[in-house]
Structures are given as structure tokens and as C-alpha cells.
């Protein structure tokens, strides 16, 4: 039967576009022929703003890019500036940064897993995961006073030393949190309906994932074992023992939505392992001793990339030797992930577009910047 194609606008006011994103779907009945993402609804000129700011003043702006993983945005940025200025930060700072970064990775993945379930109509796991995320945010609030936008990592150090209670509370959290992953797996991950909804959907083979430039859990979901923490190690990640989970096609094809989802579940467990190793080894020291009075890097450029929860987060900074950066360019992982949706969603149903979008775990703050 010959039918006309229909164009359906999804968003920017739509329950499951994860922020203000507009998807233009070209449909034949319920079958998707083409997806065109329209972005820019959340553009805040972050990169241009940075040119008028001093180096420490850019840190609060990086918070607001991927607002679900602010700690890691700080981590990447200060890493870049420290590389540019050739600062060696104290051991204690490195350990605290890694612990904070991994806690943030768990928090970010919890939102990703929860909203993915929500996109498929499962409301309850979403709230369970948010409840646990709140506990991580409590730890952050205890340390630096903010729950979402921390401005915690400064060039050369940290804004606050950890609270004396922090180590105990983190250990309590780990003990509390392990069983809830099992609960999540029982409630959602291995639910038949959930598997049916996600297995063999939005398949992205390894080769295509590399061609598209995907990174992070989306790349690993396609079976590519690539993690910057191991493969281009930064900070002190080479001291810890952890595994890189990859998609195995356990219930469907390698690189489907379920694989991307399950890689995140496993990464949460690996992050817990890293925290457990790091939390006992925090050396004594002063977290502010290396903070320069005036951050004035020499003339030059730097590219520093870190394994943010969403994928490879890169900062490219040009310094002209003044107090303000001449250019800050961010390589945002969500931006690349979103660009893949056109190829991934072709031939699936409308309901699958929502699932694929959820499995890519995009944050519009990072895409539009």
C-alpha cells in the first residue's frame, strides 16, 4: 500500500525529550523513516562567555553544561588548565577528585537508568534511583554545600577539604547502595517487558559506533572496550583496579538499547569498587596549598579529555597569556551521541525512538552549552 509520509514534531515540549530538544520525525504510520534533531533551545553561550571570564570564573560555567555530572565537568576543566600551567596537585586532592568523580558518575548513571525506565513507562524504578541519587547529593552537599552545581574543583586544588564525616558516610552509602542495584535488576533490568522493549532496538554495531564518534557507555555498549580512565589515563586512575564493562548482546544483539543500559548498571558497580579502593587511601595534606594566587597560564594551547559519565569530555583551551582564556572549546559527549540518533532510529517505531533517545543518555545543557 502506498502511503504518504507524515512529519511529527516531538518536542521541545515533550515529556521524554530530556530537556528542550525538538525531534522532527518522518513517519510512515508508526514506522520511523527519518529523525532530525533540532537543537539550540538551551544555548547559553557558555564558550563565548568563558572568553570574558578569568580562569577560575569559568568553573561555575562548566557546572552548568552537563548539570547531572557537574563534578566531572569541573574535573575535566581544571585538569586542562593544570596541564596548561604545569601544576602538580597534591595527592590528597587527586584522591578526593577521583572519589567525587566516581560518586558523580554513579549519580549521573542513576538518572540515566531511571529516565530510561521512565521513557518506557516504568515510573517506580525512576523514583527508587532518584532516592539513591539524593544520598549522593547529600554527600556532596556535606562536602561543599551545593547539591547540583558544585564549583568544587578549583585550578590546583579544591574549594573545600572533605568533611571529617565524609569517609564514614561514603562507606555507609556503599553498604546501603549495593543491594539496591540487585533490586533494580530484578524490578527493571530483567523484566520481560523491559527486555522486549529494549533488546534488538536501536542496534549500533561497533564499526558504526566508532564512525559516529560515540564515546563512553554508548560506545562500550556496542562492544568496544575503550575507556579513557584506562586507555588514556589521567589523574590517578592507573592505581585502581577496575574493569571496563562492554555490551555482550546478552538478551539481543550487541549494541542495542539493553546493552547500553546494562553497561551503565555495571559501570555503577565498577565505580563503587574504585571508591572503595580510594576511600581508605586518602593521604593527609592541604587541599588548597597548590592553588595559584593568580591563574595566568603561559601562551599555548591544551586539549585535555576525561571519561565523563556521558562519554569523552574534552576541553580545548587557547591561552594568550592573559588572565582570560582566548578560547574554550568543549567536546561534549552528548552532542555526538545525539547526532547518532538519525542512523540508529531508522526503521523502528515511534515508541522505539523514545527508547533509543533514553538509552543514549543525553543532557541538553551539554549539547547546546
Amino acid at each position: 500500500m502506498k502511503t504518504e509520509e507524515m512529519i511529527l514534531n516531538m518536542g521541545p515540549q515533550h515529556p521524554s525529550t530530556h530537556g528542550v530538544l525538538r525531534l522532527e520525525l518522518v513517519l510512515d504510520g508508526e514506522v520511523v523513516h527519518d529523525v532530525k534533531p533540532h537543537i539550540g533551545y538551551l544555548h547559553r553561550c557558555m564558550e563565548k562567555h568563558s572568553e570574558a571570564m578569568t580562569y577560575p570564573q569559568v568553573v561555575p560555567y562548566t557546572d552548568r553544561m552537563d548539570y547531572l555530572a557537574s563534578m566531572y565537568n569541573n574535573f575535566g576543566y581544571v585538569g586542562a588548565v593544570e596541564k596548561l600551567m604545569d601544576i602538580k596537585v597534591p595527592e590528597r586532592v587527586e584522591y578526593i577528585r577521583v572519589i567525587m568523580g566516581e560518586l558523580q558518575r554513579i549519580a549521573s548513571h542513576l538518572v540515566a537508568l531511571g529516565t530510561f525506565g521512565l521513557d518506557l513507562g516504568a515510573f517506580t524504578p525512576f523514583l527508587y534511583l532518584f532516592r539513591d541519587r539524593e544520598k549522593i547529593l547529600d554527600l556532596f552537599e556535606h562536602t561543599c554545600g551545593a547539591r547540583l552545581l558544585y564549583n568544587y574543583m578549583w585550578v590546583g586544588g579544591l574549594s573545600h577539604d572533605i568533611h571529617p564525616d565524609f569517609v564514614r558516610k561514603t562507606k555507609e552509602f556503599i553498604d546501603y547502595f549495593r543491594p539496591t542495584i540487585v533490586e533494580l535488576n530484578n524490578l527493571l533490568t530483567f523484566n520481560k517487558i523491559f527486555i522486549e522493549r529494549t533488546a534488538n532496538i536501536g542496534v549500533c554495531p561497533a564499526k558504526e559506533a566508532i564512525n559516529l564518534g560515540l564515546s563512553g557507555p554508548n560506545l562500550r555498549g556496542s562492544g568496544v572496550k575503550f575507556d579513557l580512565r584506562k586507555d588514556d589515563t589521567y589523574s590517578i586512575y592507573n592505581r585502581f583496579d577496575f574493569e571496563i564493562p562492554v555490551g555482550e548482546g546478552r538478551v539481543g544483539t550487541v549494541g542495542d538499547c539493553w546493552d547500553r543500559y546494562y553497561v551503565r548498571v555495571q559501570e555503577v558497580e565498577q565505580s563503587l569498587r574504585i571508591i572503595e579502593q580510594a576511600i581508605d587511601q586518602i593521604p593527609d595534606g592541604d587541599v588548597k596549598s597548590e592553588i595559584p594566587r593568580r591563574v595566568k597560564p603561559p601562551v599555548g594551547t591544551v586539549y585535555h579529555r576525561v571519561e565523563a559519565p556521558k562519554g569523552e569530555l574534552g576541553y580545548f583551551i587557547i591561552s594568550d597569556g592573559s588572565l582570560n582564556p582566548a578560547r574554550v572549546k568543549v567536546r561534549a559527549p552528548s552532542f555526538v551521541s545525539l547526532s547518532a540518533i538519525g542512523q540508529m532510529a531508522k526503521g523502528y517505531l515511534v515508541a522505539d525512538v523514545v527508547a533509543i533517545l533514553g538509552s543514549l543518555d543525553i543532557v541538553l545543557g551539554e549539547i547546546d552549552r
Binding site: M6, L8, H14, P15, S16, E30, G117, L118, D119, L120, G121, A122, F123, T124, L127, Y128, R131, L187, L188, N191, I193, F194, E196, R197, L349, V350, A351, D352, V354
Partner: protein
């Protein structure tokens, strides 16, 4: 009931109107309660508290919400088909209400103890499709259209397993009248449908597992007919915004809401009538024990509502546990799983009954 009213008022019309009033009042009160219950159940399942402000634990919250909905502006977009758009919610509500006439609430209150009882219920719950299609088409919104077409496909498909199981049960009871089906299960709970019906013997023991299968199939397919999660595709929030009622606001929206919750009770009571003895008490009546005759209908009403509410609760429980199925999987479940199972069940139950 009707005869009694006709005798008093001498006019059939007045009698029928009077017989409808308690049902209508019941639906409205039930929906007010069920919405509150849904919010409470979902909240406690998610480690929350839910509404707590209006009245004791927020019992009056839905009343407040209802008053708010009444006050809201009735928005009709310029591109809507006004006549259809205005009629649709009432068509949906009236068809749902009509099915309630066949329910035996107690041994003395049945809207109509017609011989075609269950047939009437099936026919009218199928007619809801007309209203939903009208709503979707008249809204002139692509999401609404998707929602209503999905709904049409879904309800029509799931009529088949429902009808097959109903056929099985009609074979067992030998009648289509809901009142008589209930009477057949009187006196002891082992006379209930789920335990193989009223007749004792080898057949009864053989029937139990198949009755259980029949119950599961009927439960799933009626759940799908009432558009509840995991089969809430017509309104699937994360895909279609709100499905066929995207464009509705105010009182018309609440009409859809009313009929959705009324439908939940309807499917619960159909299950109760077929498998759990309708209004019959499993343990005998307090009224008999005390020798107070007027207590019995009240007890019966409480049993009926209690059993019905239990299934409403199970619906909610499922809703807050499961993700939603996809539209093609919905059809797969119906055509590839429920219908074959229902057919074999029908065949085997038929053979057992022949023995």
C-alpha cells in the same frame, strides 16, 4: 428492583431513572476514592507519601482536584471538529456507564438482570472505541490520532480473548445473565468459578487449573481493554504526550478520567462475577447468624465492592511496577499468546464438561 420501583411510581421511566441514580452516584464516589487510592498506592510503592494536605491523609484531594477541573477553561482549538470534539467524552462516559446496568451489586439490586448480560457488557465496552476514535480524530492533533488509532486496534483485538474466555465461562454456568452466574456460585467459596464452578465431582477438580488460566487471560485482556499500564498505549505519556485526550481540558478531560476509572471497576467486577462468586460471601452472612434480614444485602454489597476494589488495587499495583509494551508487542501478546491459550482452554474445558 425495577418491578418494585415501577409498582411504587407507576411509571417505568421514573423507575429506571431512579435506578440509575445510585449507580451514577456510586461511579462518581468510586472514582473520587479510586483516584485518591491510586495516588496513595503509587506513592507508598515509591517510598513517598502522596497527597497529605486536604483532609485525613489527603482523602479530599481528588474532590479539590475535581472542583479545580470544573473551573478550568474549556479550551477548543480552532482546528478542532467542534461537534465531535464535544460529544466524544460523553460517548465514552455513557458507554461505560451503560455497562454498569448489568452488574449485580447485591441480590436485590441489579440494574437489569437481562439474559444477555455479559454480551451487553462486551458490546458496550467495545463501543467505547467509537468515543475514543471521535476524540482522537476531532482533536486534529497527530498525537491524539495516534493514541486513538492505537486504542481502537487494541480494544478490538483484545475483545477476542475476552470473548473466548467469556465463552468458556458461559459453557460452565450455562447462562449469560450475570445475576444467574452469581447465584450459581452461592453458599460456599468452593462453588466459585476459580475453583471449578458449582458442580461437585471429578470435573471440578480437573477444571481448577484451566479456570486459573482462564482467569489470567481474562485479567490480562480486560486490563488491556481498559487502557491501563502495561497496556496504556493510547495515552502512553512518554511517547504520545497524553494520547487521545491531549487536547482536552477541564470537565471534558475529567469525563475521560471518570470513564477510565469506572472501567477499572467494571473489569474488576466482571472478574469477580465470573471467578470469585460476585457478591457472595465466602463464609456465610452475619445477617443470617443474627437473624437480621436487611443486613444481608448490605453485606453482599460490601463483599462485591471489596472484591472489585481488590482487582482495582491489583491494576494499580501492576501499573506502578511494569513498563509499557510497544504497539506491535501488544498485538503479539494478543494474537500469538492470549488467543491460542484461550482457544485451547476453551477446547479443554469443553471436553472436561462433556465427560
Amino acid at each position: 428492583m425495577q418491578n418494585y420501583l415501577i409498582e411504587i411510581f407507576g411509571s417505568e421511566i421514573v423507575a429506571y431513572i431512579l435506578a440509575t441514580v445510585p449507580v451514577l452516584a456510586f461511579i462518581v464516589l468510586f472514582v473520587l476514592f479510586a483516584v485518591w487510592l491510586e495516588r496513595k498506592v503509587s506513592a507508598h510503592m515509591q517510598d513517598r507519601l502522596g497527597p497529605m494536605r486536604v483532609g485525613w491523609h489527603g482523602v479530599l484531594q481528588t474532590l479539590a482536584d475535581f472542583l479545580k477541573l470544573l473551573q478550568k477553561e474549556d479550551i477548543i482549538a480552532t482546528a478542532n471538529d467542534k461537534a465531535l470534539f464535544n460529544i466524544a467524552p460523553y460517548v465514552v462516559f455513557v458507554t461505560t456507564l451503560a455497562t454498569f446496568t448489568m452488574l449485580p451489586f447485591t441480590s436485590i439490586f441489579i440494574g437489569s438482570n437481562a439474559d444477555v448480560g455479559i454480551f451487553f457488557v462486551l458490546a458496550f465496552s467495545g463501543a467505547v472505541v467509537a468515543g475514543i476514535l471521535m476524540a482522537g480524530w476531532a482533536s486534529n492533533n497527530k498525537y491524539s490520532l495516534y493514541g486513538s488509532l492505537r486504542s481502537a486496534a487494541q480494544i478490538v483485538s483484545y475483545e477476542i480473548p475476552t470473548a473466548l474466555v467469556v465463552l468458556t465461562m458461559i459453557m460452565l454456568y450455562g447462562t449469560m445473565s450475570l445475576g444467574e452466574i452469581t447465584i450459581a456460585q452461592t453458599s460456599h467459596f468452593w462453588n466459585w468459578g476459580i475453583f471449578g464452578g458449582p458442580e461437585l465431582g471429578l470435573a471440578k477438580i480437573l477444571l481448577v487449573p484451566f479456570m486459573f488460566v482462564a482467569f489470567i487471560i481474562l485479567f490480562i485482556s480486560t486490563l488491556a481493554e481498559s487502557n491501563r499500564t502495561p497496556f496504556d498505549l493510547p495515552e502512553s505519556e512518554s511517547e504520545l504526550v497524553a494520547g487521545f485526550n491531549t487536547e482536552y481540558s477541564g470537565i471534558k478531560f475529567s469525563m475521560f478520567f471518570l470513564s477510565e476509572f469506572a472501567n477499572m471497576f467494571l473489569i474488576g467486577s466482571i472478574l469477580v462475577i465470573f471467578f470469585f462468586g460476585g457478591y457472595n460471601s465466602p463464609f456465610g452472612y452475619l445477617g443470617n447468624l443474627l437473624g437480621i434480614e436487611w443486613l444481608i444485602p448490605i453485606e453482599q454489597l460490601l463483599w462485591f465492592l471489596g472484591k472489585g476494589m481488590f482487582f482495582v488495587f491489583v491494576d494499580m499495583w501492576l501499573r506502578w511496577t511494569l513498563p509499557r509494551v510497544r504497539v506491535d508487542q501488544l498485538m503479539t501478546i494478543c494474537w500469538k499468546y492470549l488467543i491460542p491459550y484461550a482457544f485451547f482452554n476453551l477446547l479443554i474445558v469443553g471436553l472436561i464438561l462433556l465427560i
